[in-house]
């Protein structure tokens, strides 16, 4: 048999001797050997720089250098570690126990799926122009947005004016009875309707037999379960509970930990009534706007005149048009979670001042890596208030 492929490959034609023996095998072998050597040569030439580097004999000086360098580095590392003064943390680390992610049962087969409503289905409604993420990050750094630690309420100079300012009245049973295991996207019982920077807002129809809608506000997953946030919710609940008598302030129905249960509004807020497209084209009558003004003034006055005349005990500190929501014909003051309880200085016989940090505005942060428990801050969607 003649290998036609190899024959074609070789440039010389097949030579057959007269006695019938072919000289083909020998020639073929030689040719093949020659070819292999050529290949090796060319490969060697091609990869010559790498082979030179791999050659141990030539690398010996480099090896010395590398070993010396690594020894110096290791020594300096250990020296740095040992010589650095050991700082001892006097303050205990903040306990931030919080769920890594929220799962829900999607179908009767109990297949659990991770709740991604934070990002895709319900982005924050308040979105203003956003520039590049780095600029926003710098802006945050520049304006010194930081989470201030919880200050001591009672100091040497300043004392609380009333007992309720330092107390909490949780009604956890009421909240624990609520069945939250519904499909949040389709269920009529519970639905995620809105969110601010601080909390998510849900409607729940489950709290009484009449199924009147209520609003449940829960801390967003991005925030930590720290004392500061617990105290914000406590202040929110206590202030609203104190002001239940006022018809110009939203009522509260329950409070537990970082959650609160409030009146439901389907009429929007003042910003909605003034600045949405429909109302820009058909503005309210001036008389109605004056009525709204009177309602606002009454809400703020009720908050300031809770106990004694001339001694305010609550400061809302976050009065905007968006904080007055329309319930039963009245725009009621809402959201006391930034409120401050005002203390009294007995020696000077005046009320103590308080500090309010800059409002951070709304930052929507994606939690794509919910399963890993990493909280990704998405600064590109930073929103200035």
């Amino acid at each position: 048999m003649v290998d036609y492929r190899s024959a074609r490959r070789r440039s010389s034609p097949l030579s057959v001797t007269s006695n019938g023996n072919t000289t083909l095998p020998i020639v073929q072998k030689d040719d093949n050997r020659m070819e292999d050597e050529d290949d090796k040569k060319s490969a060697y030439q091609r990869f010559r720089p790498f082979l030179v580097f791999l050659d141990i004999n030539r690398r010996i000086p480099y090896l010395y250098l590398i070993i010396l360098g690594s020894i110096v580095m290791i020594q300096s590392y250990f020296q740095f570690n040992t010589s650095a003064p050991q700082t001892i943390n006097t303050t205990p680390p903040i306990q931030t126990a919080k769920p890594l992610c929220v799962a829900m049962y999607e179908n009767p087969n109990l297949s659990v799926s991770i709740l991604q409503v934070y990002t895709e289905k319900y982005p924050t409604k308040r979105q203003v122009k956003s520039t590049s993420s780095l600029d926003q990050y710098k802006a945050i750094q520049k304006r010194k947005y930081h989470l201030p630690e919880l200050e001591a309420f009672i100091t040497e100079d300043c004392k609380p004016m009333h007992d309720w300012q330092i107390h909490s009245f949780p009604s956890c049973n009421k909240l624990h009875e609520a069945d939250l295991a519904h499909n949040i996207i389709q269920s009529d019982f519970i639905r995620l309707i809105n969110n601010g920077f601080f909390r998510d807002v849900w409607t729940i129809h489950d709290f009484d037999l009449e199924q009147t809608p209520r609003v449940l506000k829960t801390l967003r997953l991005d925030h930590d379960y720290i004392d500061r946030n617990y105290d914000r919710h406590r202040r929110d609940a206590v202030a609203m509970e104190r002001l239940t008598a006022s018809p110009y302030i939203v009522d509260i129905y329950g409070h537990c930990g970082n959650n609160g249960l409030f009146e439901y509004s389907n009429g929007g807020d003042i910003d909605h009534v003034l600045f949405t497209k429909y109302y820009r084209e058909n503005p309210l009558q001036k008389y109605d706007r004056l009525r709204i003004a009177a309602q606002i003034a009454n809400g703020i006055a009720d908050a300031h005149y809770l106990d004694d005349k001339g001694r305010s005990t609550i400061a809302h500190t976050d009065i905007t048009g968006g904080q007055f929501i329309f319930i039963n014909g009245v725009f009621k003051l809402n959201d006391f979670n930034r409120a401050r309880f005002i203390r009294w200085n007995p020696t000077k016989n005046e009320s103590c001042g308080f500090k309010v940090g800059a409002n951070r505005g709304d930052v929507s942060r994606n939690r794509r890596s919910c399963l890993l428990g990493l909280s990704n801050w998405n600064y590109s969607q930073f929103v200035s208030s």
Binding site: L274, Q285, K286, R289, L290, H304, Y305, G310
Partner: protein, 95 residues
């Protein structure tokens, strides 16, 4: 509260135009600058405008010790509301 009253009256979202920065607005207000609501209303403000302007004057008082309390503003607004008759639909169509 004065800011919301200004928004209610003028239907402007921003106090000093939408170009000014938040921090700039803070500085302006601390320096005593206020939105120009009197000038925006024109020469002949009507009854409701007058009420708004007086209430805003109360809220925008610069000295916190002289600034009237929210209760006073609320009482003033309620009292003046009861004095103004509810406008009928025919009258306010031109607004």
């Amino acid at each position: 509260m004065g800011n919301i009253l200004y928004q209610l009256l003028s239907l402007n979202y921003y106090l000093f135009g939408d170009d000014t920065d938040d921090e700039a607005v803070q500085k302006l207000v601390i320096d005593g600058k206020r939105p120009q609501y009197r000038e925006e209303l024109g020469p002949k403000p009507d009854e409701i405008d007058q009420v708004f302007v007086e209430a805003m004057d109360m809220c925008y008082t610069h000295d916190p010790k002289e600034r009237p309390s929210a209760r006073k503003v609320a009482d003033f607004l309620l009292a003046s509301l009861s004095g103004i008759p509810y406008p009928h639909q025919n009258v306010t169509n031109n607004e």
